[in-house]
Amino acid sequence: MNTTLHDSASKPLFSRGPGLALNFFFLACVSIALMVMDGAGTRIAAARAWAAWALQPLAQIAAAPQSLALLGDSLQTRDQLEAENRQLKQRQTELDGRLLKLESLEAENERIRALLSSAASLPDRVLISEVMQTSQDPYRHQIVLNRGEQDGVYKGQALVDANGVMGQVIQVNPTTCVALLITDPDHGIPVEVNRTGLQTIALGRGDGQGLSLPYLPGNADVKVGDLLVSSGLGGRFPAGYPVGHIFELRHPAGENFMEALAYPTAKLNQGRQALLVWSEHNTPAVDLSVPTARPEMKQKAQHAQEQAAEHLAAHPAVAATEAPAGSKPAADKPAPAKPAADKPTSAKPAADKAAHGAAAAPTPAPAPAPVKPANKSAPASKSAPASAAKPQSKPPAAEAAAPKESPPPDTPPQ
């Protein structure tokens, strides 16, 4: 007690008197001034950097326990290192071997392509564009890009990003263009399953992130995780670009067709850039007299196609834009017509989709078709490309009316 009193009484003014409050007030003011300055800008950044440098030893000491722990990690036994080394060498050899094989395959592929004199190599003319805005309407998946007519953008041009196909241009303005994404419910894109070469059409589901492959035969060889690539049929989309990964298969009992759902590989709503691709088949294929009357049409499918034709007729704009192809895609795309076969009531939507699927792939693209590995397991619907490949020339005009006279369909395997 005595000592306490004595101690505090010895310096009463400096430790507790107004001096203390004054000190506090001064330092607090300086602190606040520092905060204001620091918050306002970088005027004291240099002082801060110096202070950080001066405090570096302290930080290092504080980090010492951690680095000690890391040191423990790096103290591995010789055995471990040797084992790892062996493992890595083994893997290296394995990969080298695969690489050799890849090179030979590449060379072989080139030779075969040369033999076929096909133009299926990836197009090299691209133009990068910025996404200017996206549609806020949840049911329309469109984006506006900063490239337009003056950059040579054309309607129907394919749009890709670093990961896959994004969509296609549907409207060209002088300096901008509007693109429809592949997830839009109005969009269809011809795809093939990369693993098997199975050809089909992927339609947008409209939920912003899914693709639907509704026209798969019941026994189609499709698995969850399969990669879908653009098949290039129709000529609108260049072949070989990734489109999606299948994440679910639905096979309702009693239905003829199985449906697969896929996520697009492209980052549809994330990136700010997109690549416009000049496909080699972009020119209106008026002179392509590839036939499309497909032998394996069903009666109901024909009905659906009629409706599709009507739809085209009813929408002159659409019909006009897809004029060259408009007539045939309806017949050309076998897939969209199918559901009609199963559910007559849904014929109309199916027809609509057929029309839009057609929009996705208006031109018959004779060139890529032969290259496509065969649709081994592809039954009726899949054989469309095959039929397209066989030139049974009919004038397109004839063909537009033709569907009805097509021969009896072969039923898809159940």
Binding site: M1, T3, T4, D7, S8, S10, K11, F14, S15, R16, L20, A21, N23, F24, L27, A28, V30, S31, I32, A33, L34, M35, M37, D38, G39, I44, R48, A51, A52, L55, L58, A59, I61, A62, A63, P65, Q66
Partner: protein, 163 residues
């Protein structure tokens, strides 16, 4: 002379507190890290009458600001305020036994946490509010222990223990 002999201890404890404040902890217990620097400064403000605790609080606060890359002056102001109040109320605090002091000082930790929270809010710097108050608990619990340990380090005649 007492100042000279105590000074290294004073400085060393503060440096140690700064280091403890920075040492990496497992994620689970990291939110419970006591406010070592505030705890040490408050101890010195409470236990001694002649240490330049305000200046020390301000400097170590600036050091914390630099080390944690917070707004320059944020820790400084909070530490300064808490230290000043404890030093100011020292006369009332020292007459109570240690456990009661520890309990009373929890108000100081709350004030400290609130000041940090408030300045963060003023500068729109978001943080998880619930995690902000966990150090109050841990600091309150650990302060008596730390006080006893530092008492041992101070090779001084016991100034304040009344009982």
């Amino acid at each position: 002379m007492s100042r000279g002999s105590l000074f290294p201890v004073f400085t060393l404890t503060l440096l140690l507190a700064l280091i403890l404040q920075m040492v990496a902890l497992p994620d689970v217990i990291a939110p419970f890290r006591p406010e070592w620097v505030a705890l040490t400064l408050v101890y010195w403000a409470y236990a001694t009458a002649d240490k330049p605790v305000l200046l020390a609080a301000w400097l170590s606060g600036l050091a914390l600001d630099v080390l944690f890359n917070s707004l320059l002056g944020q820790h400084a102001l909070a530490l300064l305020t808490v230290t000043f109040l404890v030093r100011r109320l020292r006369g009332s605090l020292i007459i109570f036994p240690l456990p009661q002091v520890a309990l009373a000082l929890s108000a100081a930790w709350v004030l400290y946490a609130f000041l940090m929270f408030w300045i963060d809010g003023l500068t729109h710097h978001s943080a998880v509010p619930s995690l902000r108050w966990l150090p109050v608990i841990s600091t309150t619990l650990i302060w008596p222990l730390a006080a006893l340990v530092m008492d041992r380090f101070r090779a001084q005649p016991k100034l304040r223990r009344l009982t």
